[in-house]
């Protein structure tokens, strides 16, 4: 039964052996990638580890296929001729896949984004989210609303990418308006102390607080604070409310828009 020929010189045992070899290759590949991920998860960045483990997996799988080919009596030289013709056909039919693939390779080398980076792809109105995976054909993001977005690599590669975590620190700013009768120096001092007290607001580069503009209703202070790129938004939220409360506790108020109206003629007193 094992030597029964199924097709040309291929026997049942050849098919079973090939199947076992492929299965073993898949199992070894999976086991190795799992072991690599476990062993190196604290030592290598997530995206590098993903690329490395995938490369190892595909090399083992390829080795399995190459082992199986002579067993199944498949001649590679014949395949190459057929492959050449097929390549032209497939090339025309799958232009976008190839371009995504090449873009994926370039993205791997250029590394404008990494797994876990917060990025915006496609300019100001583009997709904003956390990079979940960079695969060979596409890149997936998780938006801050928790939505999964898959973007083909060609689009990623040719779009404007803003990576919010590329640099270790970033600056944010507030405009704080106070009344004309309030002391701007005192307000600046209060704000400076609040920034100093916030652990995540960086000591260096130092914060800047200055009168930027004498507005129509308020003296406008500009407040510039540096924070770690990973935490700036938390600092921004926490500090703003603290500034508002602390200024009010010191009788420095944020004014409403106001306008003084002068009448050319005195109004007659109503009788």
């Amino acid at each position: 039964m094992w030597n029964r020929i199924i097709f040309q010189n291929i026997t049942v045992s050849d098919v079973i052996l090939s199947f076992i070899i492929i299965l073993v290759a898949v199992l070894i590949g999976k086991a190795l990638t799992l072991s690599m991920k476990k062993r190196f998860k604290d030592k290598i960045s997530k995206d590098r580890l993903n690329t490395m483990s995938r490369t190892v997996y595909y090399i083992i799988l390829l080795a399995g296929f190459m082992t199986v080919l002579p067993i199944l009596d498949i001649n590679l030289s014949g395949l190459m001729v057929a492959g050449g013709i097929m390549a032209i056909v497939i090339g025309f039919a799958s232009q976008s896949i190839v371009s995504n693939l090449i873009s994926g390779i370039f993205l791997t080398f250029e590394r404008p984004l990494r797994v876990d980076d917060v990025v915006s792809i496609g300019g100001q109105d583009g997709t904003l989210g956390i990079v979940e995976d960079i695969r060979i054909i596409s890149t997936s993001l998780r938006t801050f609303e928790g939505v999964y977005v898959r973007i083909p690599n060609e689009k990623v590669f040719t779009s404007n990418i803003t990576n919010f975590l590329e640099n270790v620190a970033r600056r944010f700013e507030y405009n704080v308006g106070i009344r004309y009768q309030d002391d701007a120096d005192k307000a600046a001092e209060i704000i400076k102390e609040l920034i100093e007290d916030h652990p995540l607001a960086l000591k260096n580069p130092p914060p800047q607080i200055f009168v930027e503009d004498l507005g129509s209703s308020a003296v406008n202070l500009k407040v510039r604070v540096w924070g770690p790129s990973t935490d700036w938004f938390q600092i921004r939220i926490e500090l703003l409310w603290k500034i508002k409360k602390e200024l009010e506790e010191n009788d420095i108020k944020i004014p409403f828009n106001q306008q003084e109206v002068w009448f050319m003629n005195e109004l007659e007193k109503e009788k």
């Binding site: 604290d42 030592k43 590329e166 640099n167 270790v168 620190a169 970033r170 100093e196 007290d197 652990p199 995540l200 960086l202 000591k203 260096n204 580069p205 540096w226 770690p228 990973t230 935490d231």
Partner: protein
Amino acid sequence: MYGEHKAPFEFEREPLIVSTEETEEGIDYHREYEENIIDKTIFSKEKDIIINPIEPLNTPKALTSALLIEMDKPLVLEPKNKKKVYLTYPLEIGVFVKGKKHYKDIDIFTLVKNKYTLYGDVKTGTICKYWKSELHTSEPSPDPLHEGVLELQLYNFAEEWIEVTKSVFNAYGMVMFYDDELVSMKGQMKIVGEEKSATRFLTEPLREGMKKSLEVFEKKVQHLKGAKFIMEGGI
């Protein structure tokens, strides 16, 4: 407060309270500091906790493995010379429970103010825990619950006079020792130019008889991450 304590245990020093109570299956842990209260139930055969100083890089969050100590006044060192100075550094306190082989940190807190800073530029720099220290030429005696003492050996290998204002260290090489009066570390700073130096910690106590602290930063990844810190953004 530092050391190994069997339940029931209570330590109180305004505004800090740390206590454990023995239960049938382990211990109940309680800690209060200002408005921050922590209660944990620990299931364990061992009813001991270990309290010791740890690397000051875990609160309010583990953001970095670098500690920058700025000196309150610059130190000027002549060429091809060495000098031993003492600085203080902030302390964090770790509470551990002991299992069969491993220790598990159940609480980490600090009694000092946290602050971070950037060392170097925005593109290639490092976010560091920040601490401003007085520069001492003899061993200071700060409160061991708040500050530790770093004995820093400075070597100026450069051909010119060097002004030192800060020192940055890597937490993966931190080895801390403590007794009832003092928490300490020993470190080295090798200066090779106006803008460049290398720092590292030594694995020996400041005084004989000091006990080594349990660490939070894993030493097994030290050989990969490196225990040194190369300061290239100015000293």
